[in-house]
Point group: none
Chain length 206, copies 4
DNA sequence: CATGAATGAGTCTTCATTCAT
DNA sequence: GATGAATGAAGACTCATTCAT
């Protein structure tokens, strides 16, 4: 499928290339099925056929349904953690207000970029395996934030990790409400502004 | 469901009593199974037998599995919304700092009282039907908060509903992290203090 | 299915009665499918439908396919071991020639009574789980024979267990050939006679 | 299968050499997989990869899974039948005691040489196709023994074929018990002696 | 009303086999 | 010829739901 015949090094790449394309197709299909049918009706067969392949092929790339779901979730969470990481590093030694808006921006930017994906994955993250994964990535993000906070020139945090926990919670909570559609989409602008302000306020006041 | 009619005729009492007890047993059992087996393995048979009855009896009280799950979730969410409602009403006309701690207190008090229940229900809330329900209750809570905010003597909110959205997000986000065990349980004390301060800071600064 | 409405104690028996009948139906069906389709095509669905029930019902009685197959095999082997046991006990203190014909008779009697069953189960016994089971029952039979041999008035066996092993092998080997149809069915008479004589000869000569 | 033509043209040699080697590799791999995974998990892919080749290549040598399994079984049985044949021919005109030990020796020698192989193939022989094959080879062996018996100088067999059947059964039964590990390996020595004596006794007494 | 056996649709997963490269 | 990805039929097993007792 999708035999993107590259002009360069046409020999060995195909294997890699096809794999990557296939995996991507599966990810996309998984999210589509998740969105359109919900987690419990997101079956391997359905995902495979939405991805334009047979079940058998799906199992060539993922050992089982959980692995597929976890894989998709992991990719999503990793992208966000990476972005947050990068933002947290860039914002080191900046005033806390800038730190706040840096991570809010990084987090929202990705989350709101693919709202469907984000929303669909909440259910996956809530299941057994998903929660485990969440925990791991969550810690990564907390650490990134904590380390950033420790460099703040205009404030000293007695317990940066704990503060980071709250900061991350402040990010995730309202964002989820936004993605679930509880907060009307018209508020997008304000949403980001307020979140930054809210977070900055907290960080300054600790 | 099955609103066994008014408590007028005393002859019906026993029946209703039994019903209520049974429904309660089912709720408890559901949560236990949810905790021990996870959502996907939370089957009607398992719930029924954990509740000490037969599947058939379960279906006397709930028309199907989804209704059972929704029922449990609804009860949980309603309790919280009620508590929040009450707190929001009590805190009217108080300074925003008091408002903040009032709703934080009300929310946390219930959520942390049955952490297992709360945690188990995240998965239920993430599925189709659960999300619908969440939306409804969420709006209730937002409204409660918004109306409270409108009475604040020390601040005027240009858009109380929007502010309420953020406020609620601030409550849910960190709390979820806490319940999932991402934030170590040792922080319980600090957690509530910081959450109140965080929220108060925001409400004062809007 | 097969509501053998007994006249006596109609209340609680049904559960037992139905179970027994159902299990029996499953055993019979299993053997029929084994005979007609072979082990690899002996699927749970096929067995269930041959037994006149749904797959689900089958799984109410056996946790999985292996358990079903093992169950059928076990019943078969146990019947034989029981018969052999009894024969071996009866033949204690008898001359070895009588011992020989006693166990040959007991073994053949059952094996040849249901040749289809016996034959069909060879494949089951050859698979993983079957072999384990075989080992257990085999030891039982060896012990029964060995203990019988130890009481022989006209011979002393230096190692009755080992002799019993060979004796049992002498029973199983030719019998299998017979059941598989390698030895023409016309020889039934002679078969038993020769087997007894063969065994007696060995036991006398040790 | 695929009887790669005679060794006349030397140009073909390499090809044939490769074929033979490949087939051998497949046989070995099949037995290894059989031993380690059991018959039902002995898949073409697994066998191929254990043999260091791709599934596709396997299908170059065998039209399907059954053919592979049958091929391996056939080779095994043929080796034994050949050995028995040879022994039976060599023992012609010898006293029955010598005949007995000749065929016992020939049979056991091969069977015990590769106990894993022998044991693994019992399951294959028990399935549909295997049983057919068994029948064919079994007849060959019976005939070989019968013809040998007919030349015995010290006994006259009224029905040499029938006697051969029993004789062969006496070989296979205890041997299987031995290979399955039911008879402790320590008895190897005695096993052969007793088997010979047992068989000789029978042949003399007919 | 309670019970729990029966049902069978629907899942996940495996594997023999093919065929484009 | 070799390769191994793709296919999809088929099998094991589960579970929501019903209904006879």
């Amino acid at each position: 499928m999708k035999t993107t015949t590259a002009p360069l090094s046409p020999r060995k790449m195909p294997v890699q290339r096809r794999s990557v394309a296939t995996v991507e197709a599966l990810h996309t299909a998984t999210i589509q099925v998740l969105v359109s049918e919900g987690l419990s009706r997101c079956t391997t067969t359905r995902v495979a056929s939405r991805a334009g392949m047979s079940v058998g092929s799906l199992y060539q790339y993922y050992p089982n349904r959980d692995a597929l779901l976890s894989g998709v979730l992991e990719l999503h969470l990793t992208k966000i953690a990476d972005a947050l990481d990068a933002a947290a590093i860039s914002a080191r030694d900046k005033p806390v207000a800038e730190m706040a808006s840096a991570i809010v921006q990084a987090y929202l930017c990705l989350k709101l970029a693919n709202p469907d994906e984000s929303k669909a994955l909440y259910a996956v993250a809530a299941e057994r395996d998903g929660a485990r994964l969440m925990g791991v990535i969550y810690q990564r993000m907390v650490n990134a934030i904590a380390q950033m906070l420790a460099t703040a020139p205009d404030n000293t945090f007695p317990d940066p990790v704990f503060t980071a926990h709250l900061a991350l919670g402040v990010l995730t909570g309202p964002t989820k409400a936004f993605l679930e559609g509880f907060i009307p989409p018209g508020y997008t602008e304000q949403f980001q502004t307020h979140l930054s302000r809210l977070l900055a306020g907290y960080l300054q006041g600790v």
